[in-house]
């Protein structure tokens, strides 16, 4: 998902002696494979992950690791492992968020004779955790400023270089140095700011929002049109901040219940974007994502109160990219016209 794959690989390859197989990058073949064996009305992340699992199994892996939870996603690994077993694959699927408790993990390690270098665990856990944090902070800077870049592609090239340096770094302090070095480099990239900056917030379901393949590279496309972006959902938000913030959201919105997954967060963020003079909001979700469907009327209502335009996208393998682009283009034109 997004650029995070390399961090998981980095962590596992340094902690385990066993061979780690990276899943191939998500392509249309992944989705085709996934949809073929999925129930039709399940949400798209199920199809993407199932496709990825099949592709990884074909590459020869026998232990699959999945992270997912929050909504019905939490049960997906059960269903997916059943589907894969029916297809005749032999493997072990671990879900790290639901049901990945210590005893099970220990048994698994024993069963498969995994070679864990326990002494390395704390160090690499810390490094990987920090890496996620740094990557997210750089990416949100990129999202905000890439649209003003003077030399096309300069942000993307620099980010790629940074990731390569991250991969070969083996110390916490060195990592921090690399991060600071690149942060400086990013800040010194030349920008041309237009008179009128257009700022748009992206909210929605976490998988679709974070995987560029699933949202047709929405962020890059908007940046290319000269629109500065903000996105709240990223891995460090989900893992470390969400728990703490949810209480604040409930209090702020005077709500009693959460609605599952990121529904509550998105309502709060809609309000935040409206109150902080953002020019527009784009809400993306995968088709059949229940929590997000539930909140659509609510956020539409909030946005119309503040007169902030909001655009909804529902992503599926049946979504036509042409239609998507037409709507997006019209949305950008509209924001520009409103600004004038």
């Amino acid at each position: 998902m997004g650029n995070y794959g390399f961090i998981v690989h980095y962590f596992l390859s340094n902690v385990l002696k066993d061979e780690i197989i990276d899943p191939p990058k998500i392509t249309s073949k992944t989705l085709e494979l996934g949809s073929k064996y999925s129930p039709d009305f399940v949400c798209t992340p199920f199809k993407y992950t199932l496709g990825t699992l099949i592709e990884s199994l074909e590459c020869g892996s026998d232990i699959l690791i999945q992270m997912g939870g929050g909504c019905r996603y939490g049960y997906y690994h059960e269903l997916q492992s059943q589907i894969l077993k029916d297809l005749g694959y032999k493997f072990k699927l671990i879900n790290l968020i639901n049901g990945g408790n210590h005893i099970k993990l220990k048994k698994l390690i024993k069963d498969y004779n995994l070679h864990i270098r326990y002494y390395r665990l704390p160090k690499y856990y810390l490094i990987a955790k920090t890496m996620v944090k740094y990557l997210d902070s750089i990416e949100s800077y990129v999202r905000k400023n890439r649209c003003y870049e003077k030399e096309k592609g300069s942000f993307n090239n620099l980010e790629e270089k940074m990731i390569n340096e991250f991969k070969s770094c083996h110390s916490y302090f060195k990592l921090r140095k690399i991060y600071q070095k690149y942060l400086k480099k990013f800040k010194s990239l030349q920008l041309i700011k237009p008179k009128q900056e257009i700022k748009v917030g992206i909210i929605g379901e976490l998988y679709t929002i974070m995987e560029p393949y699933a949202n047709y590279n929405l962020e890059q496309k908007l940046n290319d049109k000269g629109i500065s972006l903000i996105r709240f959902t990223n891995v460090s938000y989900l893992l470390y901040e969400k728990k703490r913030k949810v209480k604040k959201f409930l209090k702020n919105l005077k709500l009693k219940y959460r609605m599952g997954a990121d529904a509550l967060d998105n309502i709060y963020h809609t309000k935040y974007l409206c109150e902080n003079d953002y020019d527009g909001i784009i809400h993306i979700k995968s088709s059949f994502c229940t929590p997000e469907i539930l909140i659509m009327p609510i956020i539409e209502d909030i946005a119309s109160k503040y007169e902030v335009p909001i655009l909804f996208f529902s992503m599926d393998m049946n979504t036509s990219e042409t239609g998507f682009e037409t709507r997006l283009e019209a949305f950008c034109d509209m924001l520009e016209m409103r600004k004038k």
């Binding site: 191939p24 990058k25 392509t27 249309s28 073949k29 992944t30 590279n217 009327p297 539409e300 007169e307 335009p309 529902s314 042409t322 239609g323 682009e325 037409t326 709507r327 283009e329 019209a330 034109d333 509209m334 016209m337 409103r338 004038k340």
Partner: protein, 308 residues
């Protein structure tokens, strides 16, 4: 010599071209069928619309689903999506318009405007049950010419109810109703009514339709649909004489606004345009890359998902 501007709207069903003068008056226009071949349709259209003798062409704009291809072909200075084009076109003639209903061949849109600025829009995402293609296929089915379709609907006093949530179900409902022996007029009126209801249910949910309401697109020429819009919205829906050309007019206006001093000519008749698609096997994305050749020279290619 006076300046003029060309706008071409290449839709799924029809191709529209207009030439506007400096004051946005239509000098020449045409409306022909695309028949699945936008390149040929545009060539044909450009034979019909002519730049008048004492005018020079200072800008070209393209819109509609084939805007990219035709934009390349004629060397347009503006290539815009149809939503913006329709809004701009309408605002040129009706500066105080608040709501634009547009029903075209394959899609339908609603555009809300406040103080001359688009504030909201929607485009059908699900089904073609509320569009022109549906009406024309059903007209063929009952054996009525699409041009008489609207007039026949006006003769009915008792429109049948047709479940038009989805084209396929609408069609089976229609067959059922005609097997029961309903009059043709009543069925046609029912179809027109179902298009309106479907449009309102699908696109206008939760939107306030302020007056004046302007109705355009090919289907706006259908009196039956017009009548039911008036009836259901309880408003006088305005239909311009050029309502079917509004997209082309809009993009011509945009071409005017962004015009440079370049002078264009329309001699593309004898130039051969060819589109070749090939499947790139660089990765498992297998992108369908489209390459456009002008007289066997590659002028552009698109469709790739990666940077290469």
């Amino acid at each position: 010599m006076k300046d003029c501007y060309l706008g071409i709207d290449i839709g799924s069903i029809s191709t529209k071209a207009v030439i506007l003068d400096e004051e946005n008056k239509v000098l020449s226009s045409c409306y022909i069928e695309t028949s699945g071949s936008p390149v040929d349709a545009v060539k044909k259209a450009l034979k019909i619309v002519r730049v008048p003798n004492d005018y020079v062409l200072k800008g070209i704009g393209t819109t509609g689903s084939a805007r990219k291809l035709i934009g390349l072909m004629v060397g347009a200075n503006v290539v815009k999506n149809e939503i913006t084009a329709h809004a701009i076109g309408t605002l040129t003639y009706y500066p105080d318009a608040r709501t634009i209903l547009e029903i075209g061949g394959q899609d339908s849109k609603i555009i809300l405007i406040n103080n001359g600025v688009i504030t909201d829009y929607a485009m059908n995402t699900l089904c073609a049950a509320g569009t022109g293609a549906f009406l024309s296929s059903q007209a063929k089915r009952i054996g009525v010419d699409i041009n008489d379709f609207g007039k026949m609907a006006l003769n009915s006093n008792n429109p049948v109810k047709i479940a038009a949530r989805c084209t396929v179900f609408a069609e089976s409902d229609l067959v059922h109703k005609s097997q029961l022996g309903y009059k043709k007029e009543d069925i046609i009126a029912g179809l027109c009514r179902s298009v309106v209801l479907n449009y309102l249910n699908n696109l206008c949910k939760g939107k306030r339709l302020e007056k004046p309401i302007i109705f355009q697109g090919g289907v706006s020429k259908n009196q039956g649909v017009r009548k039911y819009f008036n009836e259901i919205l309880k408003a006088d829906v305005i239909v311009d004489d050029n309502s079917h050309l509004m997209g082309a007019i809009g993009v011509a206006v945009l071409a005017h606004r962004q015009a440079t001093n370049k002078i264009y000519n329309l001699d593309i008749e004898n130039i051969k345009f060819e589109t070749k698609g090939y499947e790139c096997n660089g990765c498992s994305n297998n992108c369908e890359v489209v390459r456009i050749y002008k007289d066997n020279h590659l002028i552009d290619s698109f469709g790739n998902k990666c940077q290469n």
